[in-house]
Amino acid sequence: MIKHALTTRLWHWVNAVAIIVLFMSGLNISNAHRYLYWGDYGFVPKDAWLSVIRFPGWATIPQYYNLAMARDWHILAAWPFGVGLLFIWVAMLVNGHFRRRLVTRPADWTPAAVIASLRAHSADGDDAGHGYNPVQKILYGGVFGVLLPLMVFTGLAISPGFQAAAPWLLEVLGGRQSARSLHFIAAWGIFGFFVIHMVLALANWRLILEMFTGGRIAAPTPTAAPSLEQPAIEGAPDHG
């Protein structure tokens, strides 16, 4: 059985490129006005809740300050990102990925489950099993269910042309400057996930390869004798 559906793999790589472009061009855009506010308006730095650092050229697209070009990239990459998110949600609901892998049970949220997940992940054992552990479910669920949609909705809300289509969106988010602040916060939330994701994936190159080939889920064979440290949770971690 294939571990990663073709739709998952396609979305994963298109989205990876889109997110990198959006994040780096977004840092360039941030440099244009490095102050974040709450509410509808805000333009005086002393009213800001956060003064953001000036992001260096190596971290931005383009690699020097240019608001117009950064916006070109941001406006372009927003399409594969936004449409892609809609696509993967539909695909996950249809192919059962969401139900099988991301839905958590109340027991998954207990400290014991979290500790067990982390212990199993660091136990460098034979992780041929499948399924996400509770920590992975919560992390991936938070990214799919909260951070990525929040990026899309706050991005739409900031756009003055879109506000005429959905004025309620600005109200839900607490005003345009609040939406802009949340856009910034969610971007760094995704960056945080990206770092964890990369560190764990780079620790096991096979996982990256599988994201291209699809990988294979081993038949459940009675392998090594279950050690005492092995946590009593379904499946073993196999993912960054």
Binding site: A32, D40, F43, A68, I75, P160, G161, F162, A164
Partner: protein, 249 residues
Amino acid sequence: MADIKRRSLLAGLVALGAGACSKIAGSETGQSLFETAEGWHRAAHRALAGKQGLAPEYTRAERSPTFKGNGSVTVDSDFYRQQLAGGFPEWRLMVGGLVEQPLALSLADVRALPQRTQITRHDCVEGWSAIGEWTGPQLSALLDAAKVRKEANFILFRCADTLYGNAYYESIDMVEAYHPQTIIAHALNGEPLPEKNGAPLRARIERQLGYKQAKYLTGIEAVSSLDDVGLGKGGFWEDYAGYQWYAGV
């Protein structure tokens, strides 16, 4: 060792990506990609909001305490200074181009037209926002009075100010020109337009970013194409800095 290799591989990938980005951005394919993406945003906005969909309006209590002046904050000419001091008695707003009936309106003429007052949010491309109460006639009233011809596809705003030695100008399409919230404002928060905000007249196009809100207006022109105006991109920032012509994103 493996770690070092991995790290240099990553650095290499980043550099490769950056190089690829500037190559794409510089190419014609890249430019047309950007323009296509911008066009899709405009089409999506128009489809979802409708041509006449309104930008949110606010209450007086929700206004920002002041209204930032940005870009040009004055016009550097003796005529302007003298007019500003005297309440703009000789200022004229020309309405021309592809029209049957060209107009030359004084400030009193502009004030005598049916007025619209709206409290709206101004979003600068840089990211900040301010909220103010604007008063003035709808642009559609001026265009109807001048009888715009069918060949007109764009409305051009001519301005008295210059930036970096070049005349400021802007343009919008006919959908935006006939939008009910598109007005020629002569007042901000119940007072005559302040100098830094574009006295005596400025455009308000409420579904687009700040650089579209042309200040120090001297003329409104109906044209069929933007190719022969300025450097052909439809506005000062579009011409000289590559900003997006559709400023609704």
